[in-house]
Symmetry: none
DNA sequence: GACTCTATGTAATGAACGTTACATCAAGCC
DNA sequence: GGCTTGATGTAACGTTCATTACATAGAGTC
């Protein structure tokens, strides 16, 4: 079969963020619980799931229905499939990168075209699954200059953290990047309070120290915005806003390009909430850069 | 019978290997299937699990009984517990979700769709304009383990540098990131020699310090690989391989998503030149990273 | 070769499950 | 204030499930 034309069905987590607007209050409780205990909560029986969330069984069924499933077992089947994919280690995947690369033409040419298709497809399906209100919520948190913003990323996703940090810093003050040795992270944790925001990037394999940091920050009352993959980092349990992004490209490594695309969308949204302030700040910044202080 | 032993419960997998001798032929089929698709196979219904292994339902129940479980659901409960422990390291109850966000915003939806189109278009036109041989040349330079690789980025493009650095470092040794205060960059310049490679990211507005660094490195004989925008950084004059990427999205800021896509393509190419070495190295890395599991 | 023991499948049963129809309740509107 | 609309719970229903009792088949024993 050809890998270019495969129709990747959306994960349940993506469906939730996608249909977030259409959910009622009780259904939102279910959504939060499912994202928080993903995907185990959805593999329980209807009655158990309902009781855990303090709602009735039919509400659970209506919830599954709104997500587009014909029945509750159908949703469970989807969740089970995702779980199976998630349990695969990256090494198992890297053992089978496409052998059909050297089909025709230059191998690097083939690789280029494969990446174009795979990444474009990831971007399209990831961004179109995001509920506008969900994005708006995150934008408002980040644009609120009364809140301090902390940015954190794992090993590979630290690049995204750097990118977010640099842009946010050019738009507003009070932005900090949690970086360096993670023994120094505790100092950052000291200051994080109720009104603050933590923007965290965590894709598989989810890093223990990043999770712990996010959990502690959340316990201290910080609002957490999470960028993760479709299988959801455990941080989703504490996060106020979760953005699942597709990362597979049928290659050795996962791709951050779609996450980058969504991040840029988010940053653009932040810039648009108060364009005048941002423009003034950037101009000021450029002036300072041109004529360094003291010189 | 009596669960007086309150010590850490043995996993189902342990129970299987423990009771392996007492299993009959059919039961052994079940054991093998369960260990092969652990623990998902055991979370299915009795009928499904039985049919998958070509045995009858009662055989499954006898199997669960031999492992010491009172009932099949009890075994499932154990498996589910193991799975949950495996998926989520930190265990704490998060606060109950708060229903919020009532408004529905269209502007964010429009922004999302605009970014999808703009970035996808950028990626397509950028990557399809890359000459395969050009990419191959850069790949060969970066895959050559006899050469030291230095990675450098400007203010916004430093995120790409971080990303490249982390991936290259997982594939090969002798990779360094030129970072920190740019007064310290001179120390890095000391070591750069004829056989070395400088991977540099520079998009508008081109940073003087980055240009100077690249020029000096080039003068010392280093091979320069440049990621830049379509208007080309001045570094292009010294660069051995130049990759121009489209960065406009008709928004406030330029986009790095297409550069990220091309970078990932390049990295994938590097990984494919000596897959065995890369796999061994990653496995070694994972082994070093891993901590002794609790159970 | 009939007997015994164990392994395994078949069929029936009661419980739990997902599902549906209907009742209830709160909020918004004229 | 009575009416409408949507969200949510209650209760009953048909299905599927795990479970049990029983029947069958095959291997070993005398």
């Amino acid at each position: 079969m050809d890998a270019t034309e495969k129709t990747t069905q959306p994960s349940v987590a993506e469906l939730i963020t996608q249909k977030a607007d259409a959910l009622t209050a009780s259904e939102r409780k279910l959504a939060q619980a499912l994202l928080g205990h993903y995907p185990m909560a959805g593999l329980e029986t209807v009655a158990t799931f309902a009781e855990r969330c303090g709602v009735s069984a039919p509400t659970v069924l209506r919830f599954a229905g709104k997500l587009g499933f014909e029945s509750y077992p159908e949703m469970q089947s989807r969740l089970r499939g995702e779980l199976e994919a998630r349990l695969q280690s990256p090494l198992t995947r890297s053992a089978l990168p496409r052998a059909a690369v050297a089909a025709s033409g230059h191998p690097m040419g083939e690789l280029l075209h494969h990446m174009i298709d795979a990444i474009s497809s990831n971007i399209r399906s990831s961004l179109s699954n995001i509920a506008p209100t969900e994005l708006e919520g995150a934008v408002n948190l980040l644009a609120d200059r009364k809140r301090a913003v902390y940015v954190l990323g794992g090993r590979f996703s630290s690049a995204l953290a750097v990118y977010a940090y640099e842009h946010l810093r050019s738009m507003r003050g009070n932005v900090r990047r949690v970086s360096g040795q993670n023994t120094k992270w505790t100092e950052d944790l000291l200051d994080i309070g109720k009104r603050d925001v933590l923007l965290v990037f965590d894709v598989r394999r989810y890093q223990h120290d990043v999770i712990t940091f996010a959990e502690t920050a959340s316990n201290q009352g910080a609002k957490v915005i999470l960028f993760t993959d479709q299988w959801l980092s455990p941080i989703a349990r504490f996060a106020r806003h979760v953005f699942p992004v597709r990362i597979e490209t049928a290659t050795t490594w996962d791709s951050a390009a779609a996450s980058m695309a969504l991040l840029e969308t988010l940053l653009e949204g932040v810039g648009r909430t108060d364009p005048d302030h941002v423009r003034d700040r950037i101009e000021h910044l450029e002036r300072l850069r041109r004529r360094p202080p003291g010189g």
